[in-house]
Symmetry: C2
Subunit: 193 residues, 2 copies
C-alpha cells in the first residue's frame, strides 16, 4: 500500500456519516460522471481508515440484513482530507479508444469510421440531457446547500465537455465525408506488413 489516501472516501464522508453501501450509492449519484469506487476498494479502506483513526465506526443492529456499519469522519480525518485537497491532482490516465481508432481511420471503411463517431455523438447527447435534469434536480433539492456552487462547477465541466465533444463530432463527420478514397481499388496496402 503506497497510496496515502484514497481520494473520494473521506470527501464523501465529509457530507455526513454513512456506510460503505451508502458511499457507493452516493458516489454513483453525485460524482459518478467523473469518479467511481467499487466495494472491493471501499470496504477494506474503511477498515484501514478506522485503524488509522481517520473515521469512527458505529454499528447499527439490523434484522435479517447484515448490520449497518456507519462510519463518520474524525477531526484527524477532516485534517487528512484537507491535506489531500491541497495536493496537486495527478493527471488522468490517457487512454481514449475512440481517438485511437480514428487515428487509424485509414485502415477501415469510411462508413465504419462515421459509425464510430455517430455512436459517440448519440451517447453524448444522452449525457447532455441527463446533465440538464441533474441541474434542475440540484436546484430543486439542494437550492440553498452551501456546497451547491461547487457541485455546479463540476456539473458545468460535464456540460461544457459534452457540448464540445458534440461540436467535434459534427466537424469530424464533415471531414470524414471529404476525405478522398485511396485510388487503388478498395484495399489500402501502403507497403507495410
Amino acid at each position: 500500500m503506497k497510496q496515502e489516501t484514497s481520494p473520494s472516501l473521506l470527501g464523501i464522508l465529509s457530507l455526513g456519516p454513512m456506510s460503505g453501501y451508502d458511499i457507493k450509492k452516493t458516489v454513483a449519484e453525485s460524482i459518478g460522471y467523473f469518479w467511481n469506487e467499487s466495494y472491493g476498494q471501499i470496504y477494506p479502506l474503511l477498515k484501514r481508515y478506522a485503524a488509522q483513526g481517520l473515521v469512527t465506526l458505529r454499528v447499527e443492529r439490523n434484522s435479517g440484513k447484515p448490520d449497518r456499519r456507519v462510519y463518520a469522519l474524525t477531526a484527524a480525518g477532516r485534517a487528512e482530507l484537507a491535506r489531500w485537497l491541497r495536493l496537486p491532482p495527478k493527471a488522468p490516465a490517457q487512454r481514449n479508444e475512440l481517438l485511437l481508432k480514428l487515428f487509424f481511420g485509414g485502415r477501415m471503411a469510411r462508413a465504419d469510421a462515421e459509425q464510430l463517431v455517430q455512436a459517440h455523438r448519440k451517447e453524448r447527447e444522452g449525457q447532455l440531457r441527463q446533465f440538464a435534469e441533474v441541474e434542475k434536480w440540484l436546484h430543486r433539492k439542494h437550492g440553498k446547500h452551501p456546497d451547491l456552487p461547487y457541485w455546479l462547477i463540476t456539473l458545468d465541466s460535464g456540460k461544457r465537455t459534452a457540448r464540445c465533444v458534440l461540436g467535434w463530432c459534427e466537424a469530424t463527420l464533415k471531414t470524414l465525408r471529404q476525405i478522398p478514397v485511396p485510388k487503388s481499388g478498395k484495399r489500402d496496402k501502403s507497403k507495410a506488413g
Copy 2:
C-alpha cells in the same frame, strides 16, 4: 490473458515495420496525448503476436547494443486490426481528480481552490500551444500523407478539448470569487464527523 488484442500496437505497426523501442517512441510522438504504452506491455505482446502469426520478426544484428528486433504486420495482423477497429470503443475510465477536489471545494480555503484551477489552466495553455506546433509540423512533414486527415481529426479533438477546458477554468474562477464565505468563522463544521 482475457484481452483479445491490445489496441495500439497493430495500428502502429500498420504504419510500417518497427521494433518495440520504435513503437514506444512512435506512440509517444503521435498519439501520446491520448494514449501510451509501456515496455512492460509492448515486449511481451509482440512476442505473443508473433506466436499468433499476427506479426513477423526480423532480427537486425547490432554492434554493442542488443539486436534490433523488427516486427512487421502480416495479412492476419491486418485482418485483426480491421476487426478491432470496428468494435465499439469502451468508454475511458472516469477518474478526474481535479473535479473530485473541486466537488469538495467547500472543505478548503478559497485560495486553494483557485490555485487548483489556475494551475490546471496553465497546463492546458501549454498544451494548446504544443498542439499548434504539432499541427504546423504535421503539415510541413506529412502534408500529403493519405492518413493526414485522420491525424488532424484527433489533433482537432485535443485542441477543442483544451479550449473548452480553458473556458471552464475562466468561468470557474469567476464563480469561485462569488461564492459567499460560510458565516461561522473560518471553519466549516457542518455537523458531520
